[in-house]
Each structure stands twice: as structure tokens, then as C-alpha cells.
């Protein structure tokens, strides 16, 4: 049974289609793997009965030759996606009894295409965090450990549960969301592949909102091909989200193996940070060589406003969050804590319901939007955002097809190791990924090597708007050269 969990999504799909394997067997193997891996805390809700029923329905469709593109494939769903009749909490106490009466567009498209739901994965509360340590359900342990050591490491965040579930082979892929790096940073930390598509590629309808101008859903998977297969089903127009574009969804899998010869790859000099570990510099160099060997042309480029992306993000994202999270008032859904009057009820509910990081961000957001401070903070940050986007546009206008950067400034770190005294220490994790959200561009993180302690490291490719296909083609080149990084079970 265990070997079924080592299949990639594409391999499992092909075997299901050839009837060499049933979804019932495949799903049972994953359900059992999830049970054995509870110490990782990757799932906040397991749905084995639903998984079994969905798998049986898939097998019936496969038998009739009617299977969809993901027919019978067991997936894990980040707990930020509303799932009808299945508790959805955003890993916040304020929503810990919330059972949606509707299904998010992205997950409904996965079920439309035949996928099977294994359960809901852990994440930082309201997706605010880079280590999965802010979850109301507690931290996730990475399936990776430093060579010869037992200290628990973070899987990254906010999609830490999805990353750990994929890396520990508890599912064939998982949904995730990315507001400042929440798909790509955990992918890099766990040796998995994660793509944040262009803003507007996937519908945000039914996804618990954090910062609406930055949030975007995407897949986390074992391979670049698997991510391409999943994104094909997740993406697409949706009348229920006015920011979701009416563009047809390409057959992303067809980009796997496509030649990258002649593509111009920008190497932004601002991504070389002082004090960056030599190992990060080394895999970046290695990545450049791999792409060059595959026929791509490397060009040095400059994105001069890079260093301002993170501070601008920490104005824009909290501002939008403070507005989005105003809905948690103890009236229509979620937690209610009584107070002496209605304001007292709001204040008591939100004090009890929000964790420390969420409270911090809502307060910062409230402050930067408040009378007298709006122009100095929020308006200035939105102008800086225009400049960040312009930097990218100028490079693309000069014929650059994509850019190659490190995904994170370090490998994974220990649980409890960062951000205790100064919240900004944790924020710096997203220094290479946040620019992409600020500019609305697609970005993919692909495993590219390991550090001296055996922990995976990732590279990031940044693409032109709605050119995810080029990222898949380039990502495949890196994956073919670097090989896959699979955590050895200890749990």
C-alpha cells in the first residue's frame, strides 16, 4: 500500500486511466498515510469518509470511461478554501465552528474534474505568517530535519500544512494561497513545487480573504508537471469574482518539456543580499548554468525598487486585512463573546478570536488607514507599488521572458526560532517572493538543491502576466537537472 503514496499525480492519473489502479486503493493508501503522520499536524480536519465516497464515485466514472482530468486523484485542501458542509476555519479561533454552506470556485472546479478530498490542511491564522506557527491549531512540523538532528523545523507558511502534506507524501497535491509568498516559501522549505499564478488567474470566490489585491490561489505538488495539471483545473473565469479574468486556460501540461532555447532570462542584481548564505548563492549560480545549458540566454537586469517591496507590503496587506477582517463581528458567523453592549461584544469577540499576529496586522492596518496617516503610509505605499510593477514591466519590455531568483533567503528554521522578539525578523522570509504579489505576476518555486544540513533549497522563476506556461517549461528544466527531493519518513 505504501508505495502508492510515492506516485506522482501524473503517474497515478495514467495508472487510473489504464485501470491498473483504482481510486479506492489509491485513496485508502493516502488516508492511512495521513493517520500515521498525525504528529506532523499537517491536517486540521481529515475527511476519510468523504474521500472514500468520492473515490468510489470516481471509480464508477473511470469504469465507464467518463473520468475528468483529475479523476480519482486524492488532494488536500488548505483550510482557507470554503468547502460545503466541511468545517473551514482559516485556522483561526474566530471561525473554529464555521461550516460553509457553499463551495469555493477553485475547489468546486477540482471536484468537477474528479478529484477526491482527503481533508483540510493547517495554515497560519488567516494566512498571516511564514512558518505556520500562528495557527490556532498549533504549528506544523516539517517532514524535513537537519541531518542527524531531531529538532522540529517549520515547513514555512502560510501554506505549511499543504507543503508538509505534499512533502510527506500524504496527498498527490494540495491547494494553497499566496499573498506575499505563502505558496513559494513553503514549497522551497519542503522540496516541493508551488506556483502562484498571475493575479486574476484563479477565482478568489469562497477563499477566506486576507489582502484582496494580493491573494491568489495556486497548487503545491511533487513535480512541475503535477503543478501544471492541477493549475489547469483550478484556474479559469468566474462570474462571482470580478477580478478573475475572462481568459481561456491553456493546457499547461503541454508546456512541460517545451524547449526553452532562446528564452531571455533576467537575473536581477537586487536579489543578491548582504549576508545571504553562500549555499543560496550557489544554487542560484547552478540554476543559471542549467538554464544556459538548455539554451536560454541570461541577461543581467535591475529591479531598483526591490528593497521597498516588503515595507510597502506591510502597509498594503495589513490595510486590506483590517478591512476584510472587519466582518468578524460575532453576529453572522463564528465566535461570539458577550460584552456589556454591542461594542463590548465586538471588542470581546475579536480579542478572544484573533491570535497575536492577526491582531498586530489588523491594528497596523487600522492605523495606516486612519485619518491623518492615510497619505503618509497607505497612499505612499500604493505609489511605491506602482514603481515596483514598473521595474518588472521595463525588463519585460526589453525582451526578458522570465527572471530567475532564489526563492527564500535561507533554508527552513526551527519551530520557535524566529520572530519572538521582533515580528519583522519573520517578515524578512518573504523578501524574494513579495515583489511578485505586489506586481501581480506569476511566480513558481522549484526545488534546486540542499544545504549542508540536508535541507532543501528552492529557486524562483518570475514570469510575464498570464505566461505561466513559460514558468512550467523553465521549471521542468530545473527539476530535470536538480532531481527530486523526497523527505525520508521518521514520523
Amino acid at each position: 500500500m505504501t508505495e502508492l503514496t510515492t506516485l506522482t499525480l501524473a503517474e497515478a492519473r495514467d495508472r487510473l486511466r489504464k485501470k491498473e489502479l483504482s481510486s479506492a486503493e489509491l485513496t485508502a493508501a493516502h488516508v492511512s498515510a495521513i493517520e500515521k503522520a498525525r504528529s506532523l499536524n499537517a491536517f486540521v480536519l481529515e475527511t476519510p469518509e468523504q474521500a472514500t465516497a468520492m473515490a468510489e464515485a470516481s471509480d464508477a466514472r473511470l469504469a465507464k470511461g467518463e473520468g475528468g482530468p483529475l479523476e480519482g486523484i486524492p488532494l488536500a485542501i488548505k483550510d482557507l478554501f470554503c468547502t460545503k458542509g466541511v468545517r473551514t476555519t482559516a485556522c483561526s479561533h474566530i471561525l473554529d465552528n464555521f461550516v460553509p454552506t457553499y463551495e469555493s470556485t477553485v475547489t468546486s472546479q477540482l471536484w468537477r474534474d474528479g478529484a477526491v478530498m482527503l481533508g483540510k490542511t493547517n495554515n497560519d491564522e488567516f494566512a498571516m505568517g511564514s512558518s505556520n506557527e500562528t495557527s490556532y491549531f498549533g504549528p506544523v512540523q516539517s517532514p524535513w530535519r537537519r541531518k542527524g538532528l531531531n529538532a522540529p523545523l517549520v515547513p514555512g507558511g502560510s501554506s505549511g500544512g499543504s507543503a508538509a502534506a505534499v512533502a510527506a507524501q500524504l496527498c498527490l497535491g494540495a491547494t494553497a494561497t499566496d499573498t506575499g509568498g505563502s505558496i513559494r516559501q513553503p514549497a522551497a522549505f519542503t522540496g516541493t513545487v508551488g506556483i502562484k499564478p498571475t493575479y486574476g488567474r484563479c477565482s478568489r470566490w469562497g477563499i477566506v480573504a486576507f489582502a484582496s489585491s494580493l491573494d491568489q490561489a495556486g497548487p503545491m505538488a511533487k513535480t512541475v508537471r503535477d503543478a501544471a495539471i492541477m493549475l489547469r483545473s483550478m484556474a479559469g473565469p468566474d462570474a462571482k469574482d470580478t477580478t478573475c479574468v475572462d481568459l481561456p486556460v491553456p493546457e499547461y501540461e503541454a508546456a512541460i518539456g517545451r524547449s526553452v532555447k532562446g528564452l531571455r532570462i533576467g537575473i536581477p542584481k537586487e536579489y543578491r543580499l548582504d549576508g545571504m548564505p553562500a549555499e543560496i548563492e550557489k544554487i542560484w549560480q547552478q540554476g543559471r548554468e542549467w538554464l544556459k545549458a538548455a539554451g536560454a540566454e541570461l541577461v543581467d537586469v535591475s529591479l531598483p525598487h526591490t528593497k521597498y517591496a516588503l515595507p510597502a507590503y506591510y502597509i498594503v496587506a495589513p490595510a486590506e486585512a483590517s478591512s476584510n477582517l472587519a466582518r468578524y463581528d460575532g453576529v453572522r458567523y463564528g465566535l461570539r463573546v458577550d460584552g456589556k453592549d454591542i461594542t463590548g461584544m465586538y471588542e470581546a469577540t475579536r480579542a478572544a478570536g484573533f491570535g497575536g499576529e492577526v491582531r498586530r496586522r489588523v491594528m497596523i492596518g487600522t492605523y495606516v488607514l486612519s485619518a491623518g496617516y492615510y497619505d503618509a503610509y497607505y497612499l505612499r505605499a500604493q505609489k511605491v507599488r506602482t514603481l515596483i510593477k514598473r521595474d518588472f514591466e521595463q525588463c519585460f519590455a526589453q525582451g526578458v521572458h522570465a527572471m530567475l531568483t532564489p526563492a527564500t533567503p535561507s533554508a527552513s528554521f526551527g519551530i520557535g526560532e524566529k520572530g519572538g522578539a521582533d515580528p519583522v525578523e519573520m517578515y524578512l522570509n518573504d523578501v524574494f517572493t513579495v515583489t511578485v504579489n505586489m506586481a501581480g505576476l506569476p511566480g513558481i518555486a522549484v526545488p534546486a538543491g540542499s544545504d549542508a544540513q540536508g535541507l532543501p533549497l528552492g529557486l524562483q522563476l518570475i514570469g510575464r502576466p498570464f505566461d505561466e506556461e513559460t514558468l512550467f517549461a523553465l521549471g521542468e528544466v530545473i527539476e530535470q537537472a536538480a532531481g527530486r527531493f523526497v523527505a525520508q519518513p521518521w514520523w
Binding site: 489585491s213 461594542t343 471588542e347 475579536r350 491594528m363 497596523i364 492605523y367 503610509y377 505609489k383 507599488r385
Partner: protein, 95 residues
């Protein structure tokens, strides 16, 4: 810019989050750490730069002004912490 204790209390009130008196000092430190970090945006010349309003150039979609959903009070009320006859119950707001 940095915030003092009375500003922390004012922000908490605006955000409708109860903050105990013994948490104010700690929160002040955290908020000031973030504000110190974003201070560097002051270096950027934003003269004549338009603030971003939409990250991808797109025209707002419109649709016919017709009812597309609704008529399901049970689904709407399903998660209400306190309700009666399909109304949400809240503490008295009008004397």
C-alpha cells in the same frame, strides 16, 4: 513615526479589539517595530507617481441587474451564533 500608549488604545478601539491595560506596552513595541521597518519608504521619490488601484489592467465586469441567488434563509443563518426566526440577535443598540 512611532505610536504611544494612548495611540495604541485608540487604534484598538477603532479596530474593535479589546486590549487589556497590561498588554498595551508590549503591543506598542510590536507596532513600533513594524512602523520603523516601513519608515524606509520615505526615501523613495514618488513625485508624479500614480498610486496603484488595480494590479492587472482590467475593466470592471458588469452583469445584468437581476437576482442570481438567494431565497435560502436557512443557509444564510446556518452559522449564526444567536438567532431567532431568521433574524440575527445582537445586544440592544437603541435605548
Amino acid at each position: 513615526m512611532s505610536v504611544d500608549a494612548s495611540t495604541v488604545r485608540r487604534i484598538a478601539r477603532l479596530a474593535r479589539i479589546a486590549v487589556a491595560e497590561d498588554e498595551v506596552d508590549h503591543l506598542r513595541g510590536e507596532l513600533n517595530a513594524i512602523l520603523a521597518f516601513v519608515e524606509q519608504l520615505g526615501e523613495v521619490n514618488v513625485e508624479g507617481v500614480e498610486p496603484m488601484t488595480s494590479v492587472t489592467p482590467m475593466a470592471m465586469k458588469t452583469r445584468k441587474d437581476v437576482v442570481t441567488d438567494g431565497g435560502d434563509p436557512e443557509a444564510v443563518m446556518a452559522n449564526a451564533p444567536k438567532s431567532e426566526d431568521d433574524f440575527y440577535l445582537v445586544p440592544k443598540v437603541i435605548e
